[in-house]
């Protein structure tokens, strides 16, 4: 009898303390520890703080409170998959893993579980093809867009042609770092430049060999696909060999304050691509401080508000929130399911008016997702670091990528994925 009572009490307690499943659940597969923690922390803070802002200022999304579940991945693919498995049962609406490795693992799993994944500016590039990747989104841009835009910028700097020039790609020796190679190889054929590939092993603390090769080969431009300490070491090494910083262009994951501050004045003039504006000169940051940071509800102490990676995390949350609002509007309900969330993302239309209403006028490129296109317009701007002022500034407008090179690659890669996984094209 006592045994029975204990069991019943336990069940009652479990039901009482269980989370309320009516909330809109957004898991955050973050990394606050490990060698990539300094980058993971501001991103995770921005992601969490925007959801808190929604709850505090707007009472949630469409009247439904947001519940964010944070799970530490340590930027480790296996841990990332464990986090996915342990949180998906909570009613997860969307995953944004901030890791190309984890994204690759989640693509088949989330597709089978009917949960959308958004990998903004990372992950599998060909997931842009919504005809094949129903559950995966990667707007506003992909690595292949980034490779094309960096090349475009180099062409502009060279007076309209890269013919006979040499471009080196210094990349993190991982799935992430290798992602742009295919596009750059195609672009090198089209624009007749020589491509030099220089992988750097994790974590990238020691890169002397790579930079001696660069010094010897004297490339005209260097593109970098780095993450974590690899970025700051590369920028320091470039300065050491007196490589012209204005010809050194990193992807958007190699363009945060963390990457340039260790090199001090030597980083002056370094460039990177940007999928959103730097700085905190937007009204949303005032709200963030008023409703979240000053009330002590921030995920961090507020010191990183407005930094590039904080804004990146916040932007990721904004896309999630806007996707949820879009889903609520489509289905006419506030309590949406992952499947509805997917519909919302597929109908997402980020306009200037929408950005202005969020308090972020001009912050990011506009785009409209469709059934066929889950990757947006593929736009990015180029930003440059001013070491004296300690600020990033845009030096170009948002540029679009060369779709004549990228689209055939996307079609080929996604067709291969479809054939391997027996997926039929949709949107017809």
């Amino acid at each position: 009898m006592i045994y029975k009572k204990t069991i019943l009490s336990a069940i009652a307690v479990i039901f009482l303390v269980s989370p309320v499943f009516a909330d809109l659940v957004f898991p955050s597969l973050s990394y606050r520890t490990g060698p990539y923690g300094p980058n993971g922390i501001p991103f995770a803070d921005g992601y969490a703080d925007y959801f808190t802002l929604m709850n505090e200022r707007d009472g949630g999304i469409g009247g439904e409170k947001v519940r964010m579940i944070e799970c530490e991945t340590g930027y480790n693919t296996e841990k990332g998959v464990e986090c996915y498995e342990s949180t998906k049962g909570e009613g997860a609406l969307l995953y944004q893993p901030l890791s190309t490795g984890i994204t690759y693992q989640l693509i088949p799993k989330a597709s089978a579980d009917n949960i959308p994944v958004l990998s903004s500016g990372y992950g599998r590039t060909s997931a842009k093809n919504g005809k094949i990747f129903k559950w995966i989104f990667n707007f506003p841009g992909t690595y292949w867009d980034a490779a094309s835009i960096a090349t475009k910028h180099a062409i502009e700097m060279s007076g309209g042609s890269l013919d006979g020039k040499k471009v080196a790609l210094v990349y993190h020796n991982s799935g992430y770092g290798k992602e742009p190679i295919r596009t750059l190889e195609e672009l090198s054929k089209k624009h007749k430049f020589e491509l030099m590939l220089l992988p750097v092993d994790h974590p990238g603390q020691e890169q002397k060999s790579q930079w001696l090769q660069i010094r010897r080969e004297r490339p005209d431009y260097i593109f970098m696909w780095g993450w974590g300490v690899m970025n700051s070491v590369a920028i320091q090494e470039a300065a050491n060999i007196r490589f012209p910083m204005e010809n050194f262009i990193g992807v958007w994951w190699s363009g945060s304050e963390n990457d340039v501050i260790p090199a001090g004045d030597a980083a002056h003039g370094y460039k990177s691509l940007a999928m959103h504006a730097p700085g905190d000169n937007f009204p949303v940051y005032d709200d963030m401080r008023k409703y979240v940071i000053d009330k002590g509800l921030g995920a961090g102490d507020g010191s990183n508000v407005g930094t590039v990676l904080y804004s990146r995390g916040m932007y990721a949350a904004i896309l999630a929130v806007e996707g949820a609002k879009s889903a609520q509007a489509i289905h006419g309900v506030s309590k949406i399911t992952p499947s509805m969330m997917r519909d919302g993302l597929e109908a997402l239309d980020i306009t200037e008016e929408k950005l202005a209403s969020i308090g972020l006028a001009g912050f990011a490129p506009t785009f409209k997702a469709t059934c066929e296109n889950h990757g947006g317009t593929g736009s990015a701007a180029v930003q440059q670091w001013d070491a004296k002022k300690g600020t990033w500034s845009f030096i170009t407008d948002y540029m679009t990528s060369d779709q004549s090179v990228i689209q055939p690659l996307i079609d080929a890669d996604s067709a291969q994925f479809a054939a391997e996984n027996n997926i039929k094209e949709r949107c017809n």
């Binding site: 923690g37 974590p203 001696l212 004297r218 300490v229 320091q236 300065a239 090199a263």
Partner: protein, 333 residues
């Protein structure tokens, strides 16, 4: 001379310099292993912690600011002062001595006469604790370290060597990083000081006695606990030097603790008990991995340094299992 030959010399030279930096980390392992038989897994984290403390003190950061602010709702981050590099280094040495005392009192004292594997496991725990403690104390943001050591390629050396190539050859002069030269000089001074200390001072002799035979050293009245504090303090100082050099290159951030991975092949090659072994091992690993990466790397996809260092160390181990300078242990039954 042909440009290719000169480039090869340049790679070897830079490899040797990188090797000195590896050796700086390996030295800390050797000191503790030699005196106590403990393989200190926390050595890399000690370098990180020392560098974090140095930057924190130099910039006048408030330790545990996040914790204080979260607990009391305050917004304190910095004191209104900064410290000159020398004073910050001196204070960091004091912190590392205090750290050594704590390690002895809280961990080692309770593990006397335990198996080496138990002590090794304790240092794993210590490493994880120190990682979190360092984060909590000084924050996890990437910090710039500037102790006044110049950095960047030496123009003088470039100008000196640019004319060495035969006419018409594409050669831009040899590259050498001034910071690496400083690191080599500091490592040399460090080894000299450590050698003089262990050979000619009373404490140094006591340390060697403990290293040779714990029981015999105890029987003549040498305090094992004092020796442990001493050796962990010296090791903490070596970690500070390594942390300073590596931190100046990449900024002070968590990945600094991973430099320990670079020291392992050095230890395998040079032996766990020899200070000169750490230096020579570092030089061989540094030059070997750079040569391999520069000449063979491009043919096989590059990024060979991480694994090639271990292959090189294993090759040496086949012929000399105790390492180049390690003590050959013969146990008779």
């Amino acid at each position: 001379m042909s440009a290719d030959f000169l480039y090869t010399i340049e790679v070897i030279l830079n490899g040797l310099m990188a090797g000195v930096l590896y050796a700086l980390v390996a030295l800390g392992f050797v000191l503790i292993f030699k005196a106590s038989g403990i393989f200190n897994y926390a050595q890399g984290v000690m370098a990180l912690f020392a560098a974090l403390t140095l930057v924190g003190l130099q910039e006048g950061r408030v330790p545990f600011a996040h914790l204080i602010n979260a607990t009391f709702g305050t917004h304190v981050h910095n004191f209104d002062w900064t410290l000159p590099a020398v004073a910050a280094i001196a204070l960091t040495v004091v912190v590392m001595v205090l750290f050594a005392i704590c390690v002895e009192k809280l961990i080692l004292k309770h593990l006397v006469n335990q198996e080496p594997i138990i002590l090794f496991m304790a240092t794993i725990g210590l490493a994880y604790f120190m990682e979190g403690f360092g984060d909590l104390m000084w924050g996890s943001d990437v910090k710039k370290l500037n102790v006044g050591i110049p950095q960047g390629g030496s123009l003088w050396f470039e100008d000196l060597t640019i004319g060495w190539a035969a006419e018409g050859e594409k050669f831009y002069g040899m590259y050498i990083d001034i910071l690496d030269v400083w690191a080599a000089v500091i490592a040399l001074v460090l080894v000299l000081v450590l050698t003089i200390f262990s050979q000619y001072t009373k404490s140094g002799r006591a340390l060697r006695a403990v290293a040779d035979d714990h029981q015999a050293a105890l029987s003549v009245g040498i305090s094992l606990r004092m020796i442990w504090v001493l050796v962990w303090s010296i090791s903490g100082f070596v970690a500070l030097v390594a942390g300073m050099m590596w931190g100046a290159k990449s900024g002070v951030q968590f990945s600094l603790s991973l430099i320990a991975l670079k020291a392992l092949p050095v230890l395998m090659l040079g032996g766990f008990t020899s200070i000169p072994g750490a230096i020579v091992g570092g030089l061989i690993i540094g030059a070997g991995e750079k040569l391999f990466e520069f000449f063979i790397g491009p043919l096989i996809g590059g990024a060979t340094e991480n694994w090639f260092a271990y292959v090189l160390a294993l090759l040496f181990l086949v012929f000399r299992p105790q390492g180049l300078f390690g003590e050959k242990i013969i146990e008779r039954v």
